[in-house]
C-alpha cells in the first residue's frame, strides 16, 4: 500500500511558471481527483508524478522513496491515457502483455494476470481483436486492463472518460468506483468535470493557475469552500454572488446589500472582517427559496425582491433565472416543476446558515453551520 507525498512541487518552462508550491498528501488506497479548468496545471502535475515531465522544484515521494529522478518504469506506476494509447498493431492480449514482458514475467505468469484482469473488466472475449476493431468503451477497458496487470503501487488516470459519450461516461464512472473498491489501490485521477470529481474522489484537489486552491473531501469542498474560486467551481449551477458591505460583526455578521437590503450570515467573524469592508455574499441556487411577493419569509439571512426572467424546466428539477433590482442576476434551483412564469414578481430568500462570505482577496469566511441547510421542496 502506497502513500504519495508532494512537497513544494513546482514546474517552470523557461521563464513561465506553470505550477508552484504544490503540497499534497495522498494516503494509501485513496482515490484523489485533480480537478480544475483548462490550463490549471492538473495534467502537468499528473505527468510529473508519472515521470513524463521533469520536476523543476520540490520533492515527490512514492512510498518512502524520493522519485524525482527515476524514469517512469522504475516508479511502480501505471497510467491510463486520455486517448487510451493502445498499440495499434498488437491485439488486446499482446497490448496487455507488453509491459509484463518488459518486466520479465514468464509466460504462465503473464497468462494468469491477463486472464484475471480480463475477467474483472469483462473483456475476455476481445483478446484476439485489434484496437481498431473495438468500441471506445472497450478500448478504455483494455487500457485499464493494461494498467492493472502491472500491479503498480499507483494508478494515474488522465481524463479517461472525456472521449466517451455521455451515457457511457456515467456507466463507466460507476465501474471505476467499483474497481477502486475492489483493488484498494492508490489512484490519482485528472478531470475537468466537477461532477466526476465529486462522485469518484475520496479527496478532491481543486487547482487554478498552477496552485492548489483546496484539497479535501467532496462534501467539505461543497460546504466549506476555501475561496471564491472553489465555491464557484464546485456545484452546478454556479453559486450566486452578490457584492455587500459589512455593517456589524457581532453577535452575527451583518451586511448591507448595495440596494439597501440588510442580510445576516452565520460565518465566523475573524479579525479580517471590519465594519465597512466590501465583501461578497455567496448563496447556492439550491439554497435559495422563492416566496410570492408580499409574503414574509420564515427565517432570514437574505431577502431580495426579484422578477422572473426565464424558467427552465428539467423534469426532475427546475431553474428560475431572476433579476433583482434591475441589476443582479440570480439562479434558483428547485425540485420537480414550478408554475412560475417570466415576468412574475417573487421574493428570493435564504436562511443565514446558507450564506457564504468572501473577503476581497477571495478567501472564504468559515461557515458556522455548514450542514445547517436542508433542501426543502418548493
Amino acid at each position: 500500500m502506497t502513500r504519495v507525498t508532494l512537497a513544494n512541487v513546482s514546474k517552470t518552462y523557461g521563464a513561465t511558471t506553470v505550477l508552484q508550491g504544490v503540497n499534497l498528501q495522498i494516503d494509501s488506497g485513496e482515490f484523489v481527483v485533480l480537478v480544475g479548468p483548462s490550463g490549471c496545471g492538473k495534467t502537468t502535475l499528473l505527468r510529473m508524478m508519472c515521470g513524463l515531465e521533469e520536476i523543476t522544484g520540490g520533492e515527490l515521494r512514492i512510498g518512502e522513496e524520493v522519485v524525482n529522478h527515476l524514469p517512469p518504469a522504475q516508479r511502480g506506476i501505471a497510467m491510463v491515457f486520455q486517448s487510451y494509447a493502445l498499440y495499434p498493431h498488437m491485439n488486446v492480449f499482446d497490448n496487455m502483455a507488453f509491459g509484463l514482458k518488459l518486466h520479465g514475467a514468464d509466460k504462465a505468469e503473464r497468462q494468469r494476470r491477463i486472464e484475471k484482469a480480463a475477467r474483472a473488466l469483462h473483456i475476455e472475449h476481445l483478446m484476439e481483436r485489434k484496437p481498431r476493431e473495438l468500441s471506445g468503451g472497450q478500448r478504455q477497458r483494455v487500457a485499464i486492463g493494461r494498467a492493472i496487470v502491472r500491479e503498480p503501487r499507483l494508478f494515474l488516470f488522465d481524463e479517461p472518460l472525456s472521449n466517451l459519450d455521455a451515457s457511457l461516461r456515467v456507466k463507466t464512472r460507476v465501474e471505476l468506483a467499483r474497481l477502486h473498491r475492489d483493488l484498494g489501490a492508490t489512484m490519482v485521477y485528472v478531470t475537468h468535470d466537477q461532477v466526476e470529481a465529486m462522485t469518484l474522489g475520496d479527496k478532491i484537489v481543486v487547482m487554478h493557475e498552477g496552485c492548489v486552491q483546496q484539497a479535501g473531501a467532496p462534501l467539505d469542498l461543497y460546504q466549506q469552500p476555501a475561496n471564491r474560486f472553489v465555491a464557484s467551481f464546485i456545484g452546478s449551477p454556479q453559486i450566486n454572488l452578490l457584492p455587500a458591505k459589512i455593517t456589524a460583526t457581532s453577535p452575527v455578521v451583518q451586511l448591507e446589500l448595495p440596494f439597501g437590503q440588510p442580510a445576516r450570515a452565520t460565518v465566523e467573524a475573524t479579525t479580517k472582517l471590519l465594519e465597512g469592508q466590501a465583501v461578497e455574499i455567496g448563496v447556492r441556487p439550491e439554497h435559495l427559496r422563492l416566496a410570492a411577493a408580499g409574503e414574509p419569509p420564515p427565517a432570514e439571512g437574505i431577502r431580495l425582491d426579484a422578477e422572473v426572467v426565464l424558467v427552465e424546466q428539467l423534469g426532475e428539477s427546475h431553474l428560475v433565472h431572476l433579476r433583482a433590482y434591475d441589476h443582479h442576476e440570480l439562479v434558483v434551483r428547485g425540485n420537480a416543476h414550478t408554475r412560475l412564469r417570466a415576468g412574475d414578481r417573487v421574493v428570493a430568500w435564504a436562511p443565514a446558515e446558507a450564506l457564504h462570505v468572501f473577503i476581497t482577496d477571495g478567501r472564504a469566511c468559515r461557515r458556522l453551520f455548514p450542514e445547517g441547510v436542508a433542501d426543502t421542496p418548493q
Binding site: 484482469a117 475477467r119 483493488l183
Partner: protein, 298 residues
C-alpha cells in the same frame, strides 16, 4: 466488474535489466545521434563544397591541393568566364525555365481540375478512371518513348519545347492528381455546400473557393514534379536535342563532354548549375519539407 481479489495488488517490481542511470545513458545517446547525422551531413556536403570551392581556383591550384580553400594567389574565375562567355548558356537556362514553369502550371491546374472532378462528382467509371490515372505513378512514362517520338514526328513537334511540356505534363499528372485529391478531401464540405446554396456555379466554386485552398499542396506537388522535370536528361535527349531547344541539364552534360579536360570550365559549369537550386531551396525549404511530411504519405 466483479469483485477481484486484492491479490492483484502485488509488490512493486522494477524491470528486470540493469538500469543504466540516466546520467550515463543520455550523453552517449546524444553523441551517437549527432555522430551519425553529422557524419552523413558531411558526406552530403563534401562533394558539393569541393566542386564549388575548387571552381574558384586556378588550374594549378586545383591539382596541387584540391582540399585547400582558394587563397589570394590561387583565386581564379577563368572557368566562369569561359562558361558564361558561352552564348548559349542563357538560352538553355531560359529553355529549362520555360519548360519547367509551364509544365508546373499546367500540371497544377489540370491536376486540380481532375482531382476535383474525381472526388466531388459521382459517375460511372469514376473509380476506374482514378485507377487509370494512378497507374501512371507506378509505370514509368519512358517505356512508351518509341511511340511518343513517333507521335511527335507526326505532329511536327520534334525539337520544340512544346513536345517537352506535353510529355512532362503527362508524366506529372498522376502523382499530382493523387496528392491534390487528398488535399481536396480535406476541404470542409460546408464551404462547398454554402457556395452551392448561394447559387454559385460549379466552375466558380472550383476557381474561387477550392483552388485557393490548395495552396499548401503546391509545395508538395512542386517538389515531386518540378525537380524531376528540371533535372531530366532523357526526354530532352530524345525529343529536343537541337541547339535552340536544349535545356540546361542537357546543355551542361554536352558542355562537360566537350570540355572534359578543361577543369576550370567544368567545375564552373557544375557550380553554376548547382547554385540556382541551392538558392531556391534555401528560400523554400521550410514549405517544401512541411508539404512533404504533411500530405504526401498516403
Amino acid at each position: 466488474m466483479s469483485a477481484a481479489p486484492s491479490s492483484l495488488m502485488g509488490q512493486h517490481q522494477a524491470p528486470k535489466r540493469a538500469p543504466m542511470t540516466a546520467a550515463i545513458a543520455k550523453p552517449l545517446r546524444v553523441g551517437f545521434v549527432h555522430l551519425v547525422l553529422g557524419g552523413y551531413t558531411l558526406l552530403v556536403l563534401c562533394p558539393i563544397l569541393l566542386v564549388i570551392v575548387n571552381s574558384f581556383k586556378s588550374r594549378k591550384a586545383i591539382f596541387d591541393d584540391p582540399l585547400a580553400l582558394p587563397t589570394a594567389a590561387s583565386f581564379s574565375i577563368v572557368g566562369y568566364a569561359k562558361v558564361l562567355g558561352n552564348a548559349t548558356v542563357g538560352g538553355m537556362f531560359l529553355n529549362s525555365a520555360i519548360v519547367t514553369g509551364i509544365s508546373m502550371v499546367l500540371i497544377l491546374l489540370f491536376g486540380a481540375m481532375a482531382a476535383w472532378a474525381l472526388t466531388e462528382y459521382r459517375f460511372r467509371g469514376n473509380r476506374l478512371l482514378a485507377l487509370f490515372l494512378a497507374f501512371g505513378i507506378m509505370v514509368p512514362i519512358r517505356l512508351g518513348s518509341v511511340s511518343i517520338l513517333q507521335t511527335m514526328v507526326a505532329l511536327n513537334l520534334v525539337n520544340t519545347l512544346t513536345a517537352l511540356v506535353l510529355v512532362y505534363v503527362a508524366q506529372g499528372l498522376p502523382l499530382a492528381v493523387m496528392i491534390l485529391s487528398e488535399f481536396i478531401l480535406q476541404v470542409p464540405s460546408e464551404l462547398k455546400d454554402a457556395a452551392r446554396c448561394d447559387g454559385i456555379g460549379e466552375f466558380e466554386i472550383f476557381f474561387r473557393v477550392v483552388l485557393p485552398l490548395l495552396r499548401p499542396a503546391v509545395a508538395t506537388v512542386a517538389v515531386f514534379t518540378m525537380v524531376p522535370i528540371w533535372n531530366d536528361l532523357w526526354f530532352p535527349l530524345i525529343l529536343a536535342p537541337g541547339e535552340s531547344t536544349q535545356t540546361i541539364t542537357l546543355g551542361v552534360q554536352q558542355f562537360i563532354g566537350q570540355f572534359a579536360t578543361d577543369w576550370n570550365a567544368v567545375l564552373a559549369a557544375l557550380s553554376l548549375a548547382v547554385l540556382p537550386v541551392l538558392l531556391l531551396y534555401g528560400l523554400m525549404s521550410r514549405q517544401l519539407i512541411r508539404g512533404i511530411t504533411a500530405g504526401a504519405v498516403k
